[in-house]
């Protein structure tokens, strides 16, 4: 890929750009984490960028004694259920679109992909009305439907590309071994789409973990809301208690960070696989 001429420049430029990007993404978070360790007075007296005076966890204790854990529980429930359904539905759709040639399958694929073009917020009002009329308003479960729906196009896209790479002979061998279409999907295509599935799970998991607008519109009570709304609610509750809000932000991001730390290799591989093939 690299041209010979630009070789020396890129040797310097790439690390510099990398460091720059690292700074852009991590400095705000480090700032937030430090801020969450300060006392309220410190934030008023000391300069903005000063390090915290002591390792002071009182903000965290305060937040955890509040309703944070309820938000966390709701988030975990909504996101994990959504992601499982997304993986199941999009992989089934992808298998059908990639391998079962049927009438209009190409048009159907195009239509699903076109779903990516629809601006999300346009659907907000209809989704709200539908949720109300189905009696799912202000329930965590009411979020799952819209979350699955908004994630399907990109997921189907990624997995369809992935499944097109599975050699035709594997499918034929499975047919000879006595598998019908569903068995072929379940026993061959699903296990072989591992990297694609993890890309889908990670991409959507992160996006939905941070999703705000739908959660805001479709729920109203504290014990039904997800984490992105915790900050919103705490802002009202703590007024100007900036360190406490920062503690909420840090705690909200923590699960993602832990997951990343544990599964780093898999995540990167999954994203690479997706990006190379998708």
């Amino acid at each position: 890929m690299r041209k010979k001429q630009g070789f020396k420049v890129s040797r310097v430029a790439i690390p510099v750009l990398g460091l720059f990007w690292l700074a852009v993404t991590t400095l705000p978070f480090i700032f937030v984490a430090f801020m969450s360790l300060k006392t309220q007075q410190e934030t008023f007296i000391k300069p903005f960028w000063a390090l915290p005076e002591s390792f002071n966890l009182s903000n965290y204790i305060e937040v955890l004694e509040g309703s944070f854990l309820i938000y966390l529980r709701n988030s975990l429930f909504v996101i994990s259920t959504s992601v499982v359904i997304i993986m199941l539905f999009s992989s089934m759709a992808a298998y059908a679109l990639a391998r079962l040639k049927f009438k209009f399958s190409d048009s159907l694929f195009a239509l699903i992909i076109a779903g990516m073009i629809v601006p999300l917020h346009v659907t907000l009002v209809p989704v709200y009305l539908m949720t109300r009329s189905m009696g799912l308003y202000d329930t965590p479960a009411g979020l799952i439907g819209p979350y699955v729906a908004i994630s399907l196009p990109i997921s189907v896209f990624i997995l369809t590309e992935f499944m097109r790479q599975v050699p035709k002979e594997l499918e034929e061998a499975a047919k000879l071994d006595g598998c019908g279409p569903f068995k072929v999907y379940w026993k061959i295509f699903l296990p072989l789409s591992g990297p694609g599935l993890s890309t889908v799970a990670i991409y959507n998991g992160i996006m939905l973990w941070n999703e705000f607008v739908f959660a805001y519109v479709l729920t109203s009570s504290t014990d039904r809301r997800t984490l992105p709304l915790a900050v919103w609610d705490f802002q009202g509750q703590y007024a100007s208690n900036v360190p406490a809000i920062m503690a909420v932000v840090t705690l909200s991001a923590l699960p993602l960070i832990i997951v990343y730390a544990i599964g780093q290799e898999k995540i990167v591989n999954g994203m690479m696989a997706g990006s190379l093939k998708g």
């Binding site: 002979e169 594997l170 034929e172 047919k175 000879l176 071994d177």
Partner: protein, 265 residues
């Protein structure tokens, strides 16, 4: 009861006729080789017998039973693919057991059959490995093992040796010949474009050629007619190995060189 009969079989992909007027009789336990240049429809014919590809016209009979609409798994055929097509996410054992499991064979039975096949093919130490951890020759054996455990009436091989290096190819060729001796009642159909391979293995060679309009228009090969050379036709076979095989004038082979019209058009 493993005789295979094709009557007036034709294969079209949309408007493209790949095979037509195929009449073929493969006897019980015969080792039949489909020989022909690349793209002439050998694989397509084999896949039709396997049931992976639909038969557009004509009748296909295996062991006296019309098989046109029988699903692949119920045709009592087993296939070895050119690229082996082992399931990469399963161990060697699971690869071989997969078909039996789908057929709800009792567990003890599966174990016995897989172990037996593994012993025969000398892949016992590999049973826990994944296909990725095997060499080409080992993968080939596993693919053959997967076919054996199903105890099929017909073995189908689609250029099984073309991915192996020359030395191994000769070795595996003799193993396939041995397989034929070990399962004398099963018919075997073997696709290749290598004449030496065909000579070494066949009881019967079916010659397929690309149709005439190919050369004219430079289009894809469209027509192919099989011609069966009877095994007694040794002189022809020897001749064949030194000649480009799609240049026989039509109808000449059997009569002139064999001294009798022993071919089926």
């Amino acid at each position: 009861m493993t005789q295979i009969i094709l009557e007036n079989v034709e294969k079209r992909f949309a408007k493209l006729t790949v095979l037509h007027d195929i009449n073929l009789n493969i006897e019980d336990g015969q080792f039949c080789v489909f020989l022909g240049p690349s793209g002439c429809g050998k694989s397509t014919l084999l896949r039709m017998i396997a049931g992976i590809e639909e038969t557009t016209e004509g009748a296909l009979t295996i062991g006296g039973e019309i098989m046109n609409d029988v699903p692949p798994a119920e045709r009592r055929v087993a296939m070895v693919f050119q690229n082996y097509a082992l399931y990469p996410h399963m161990s060697v054992y699971e690869n071989m057991a997969f078909g039996l499991k789908q057929a709800k064979t009792p567990k003890a039975d599966i174990e016995r059959r897989v172990n037996e096949a593994a012993r025969m093919l000398q892949i016992e130490p590999l049973l826990d490995r994944r296909p990725k951890q095997l060499s080409g020759g080992q993968r080939q054996r596993v693919a053959i093992g997967r076919a054996i455990v199903r105890q099929p009436a017909v073995f189908l091989f689609d250029e099984p040796l073309s991915n192996l290096d020359a030395a191994l190819r000769v070795h595996m060729r003799s193993e396939i010949a041995n397989l034929h001796n070990d399962y004398p009642e099963a018919s075997m159909i073997y696709v290749t474009h290598d004449q030496t391979e065909a000579m070494a293995l066949a009881d019967k060679i079916v010659l397929l050629r690309a149709g005439p309009d190919v050369t004219k228009k430079g289009a894809l090969p469209r027509l192919a007619r099989p011609r069966t050379l009877p095994p007694s036709c040794k002189p022809v076979c020897c001749r064949l190995s030194r000649l480009p095989f799609n240049e026989f004038p039509e109808g000449d082979v059997g009569k002139r060189r064999c001294g009798r019209s022993g071919y089926q058009a």
